[in-house]
Amino acid sequence: MIDVLSLGGAYALMALGLVIVYGILRLVNFAYGELIMVAGYTMYLTSGSGLPWLVMAAVAVLMAIVAGIATDYVAFRPVRAKSVTAVLITSFAFSTLLQNAALLFISPRPRNVPLPEIFSVTVQFAGVITPARNLITIAAAVVMLALFSWLMRRTVLGIAMRAAATNFTMARMLGVPANLIISSAFAISGLLAGVVSMLWIGRIGAVVPGIGLEPLLIAFIATVIGGMRSLQGAVLGGFLLAFMDTTLNFTLPQDLLKFRDAFTFSLVILILLWRPQGLIKGPASGQRT
């Protein structure tokens, strides 16, 4: 149960980071995984500085936000008005560029990332023994989801972002600047990626250039299950995917375990056959009643 919640929390945050940009631009940001990588390498590079872990983590998250905004400026803004295909390709290109930069300037081999003690201890909680990092993940997910929902519901910027996700032109005609909204979406995406990165690295303890691939895939699947356009759907999809993964981990016989992902994906296909638009449909754009 704690496994599901903690894995689900991390998955949900990954999915939200992807869907916040998709909702507004109708575009999957393939460089999203690299935001996670950027945060990871920031941790590695600052590890010699002797700063307390929390400060390093804050710097890493900040770098992910900066990288997110950079994605907008480098890969999206110059070609946004041209064509969807162009933006798709620049987003791939930016992703490859960042990965190769990491390969070239740092190393293709895993680099250890400092972790505070608390990530490796186990604690007894509600009668079960569990690694403390699971509880940290759950707490971080709860805090982030609460913060995110407050931002989207209570601030003018959040409301404007939700409006822009359904009808960008109308939002602009009310005076909401397009660039501000898009940059904010990328910044939030970067923030989520940064936090996810800390939690993800907390599980594996090292960073490699390809670290972002798995979270990107997970986020993508979670949003597809939950509904590409819906923020609630992304969260739901994240938890559902974690539930499937964890359940399969426990129930599959040993020799089938290495095929776990095949089982997971089969279930995803079944869900999509049943509800092609995802579990939560999300706002229909510009629909009149």
Binding site: A160, R162, A163, M173, L174, G175, P283, R288, T289
Partner: protein, 235 residues
């Protein structure tokens, strides 16, 4: 206040607007009539900044705003009510109004007052303020969109087919409201297919056909010109 000169709007090879020149004086209600596909809405969306002009100029209070982006037009006091109505369906009524005041969001006192005034003017919106706007009826959505546009305290209101698809009693209500807005001194450009209703409230009128202005005059002149009936009804 608003001068359009030789405006052209094209969607690829299709010229929706071929040559439109019109002007609006301060406080005037001008209606742009014509059949479906005459290019009225394209003209209006181009003024709002949502469509690029292929040629011609648009001036707002003497300044060239032909290439201005929609958010800039909004900041300059142009509020737009598009034909598609475009409430934000998953936002509440209140959130829709709040966004209408986006350009003056720091003036919380004034926004609060305006919000109260809109709720007074449209009691049904007050009743449903916490409801998602997508659950409102067509007439209620139209009221919400007009109220939302007014929240920015615009100097010019661009209204596109506010009567489209609404029940006759609701249409009457909407036109009463337009007359009221005009009396408050607001400059309005009203695009309509319902010519008789529009001419009843307008000061002047332009008639469009196939992307061009075919006739112009005071509302009374246009209403009296019988041959125009054929022009704007037959398209």
């Amino acid at each position: 206040m608003l001068e359009i000169d030789g405006l052209q709007v094209a969607y690829g090879a299709i010229h929706a607007v071929r040559d439109v020149s019109l002007n609006l004086a301060d406080g005037e209600l001008v209606t742009l009539l014509g059949a479906n596909g005459a290019g009225k809405s394209s003209t209006l969306m181009c003024v709002a900044g949502a469509l690029p002009a292929a040629a011609g100029t648009i001036r707002l209070e003497g300044q060239d705003v032909t290439t201005a982006r929609p958010e800039v037009m909004a900041r300059r006091g142009v509020a737009t009510v598009p034909e598609t109505r475009d409430v934000f369906p998953d936002l509440t009524v209140d959130e829709n109004l709040q966004l209408g005041a986006y350009i003056r969001r720091h003036d919380t006192g004034g926004v609060g007052e305006d919000r109260a005034r809109m709720f007074e003017m449209f009691p049904v919106l007050a009743e449903r303020s916490a409801q998602p706007a997508g659950t409102l009826s067509g007439g209620e959505q139209q009221m919400l969109v007009i109220a939302r546009a007014m929240m920015s305290r615009p100097r010019i209101l661009l209204l596109d087919e506010p009567s489209l698809g609404l029940a006759p009693t609701v249409v009457d209500q909407i036109f009463e409201m337009i007359a009221m807005l005009k009396d408050s001194g607001l400059t309005i450009l009203l695009v309509e297919q319902n010519a008789s209703k529009a001419l009843a409230v307008a000061d002047r009128a332009y008639v469009m056909r196939l992307g061009r202005i075919e006739a112009e005059g005071t509302a009374a002149e246009i209403a009296a010109a019988t041959d125009l009936k054929a022009l704007y009804l037959a398209g």
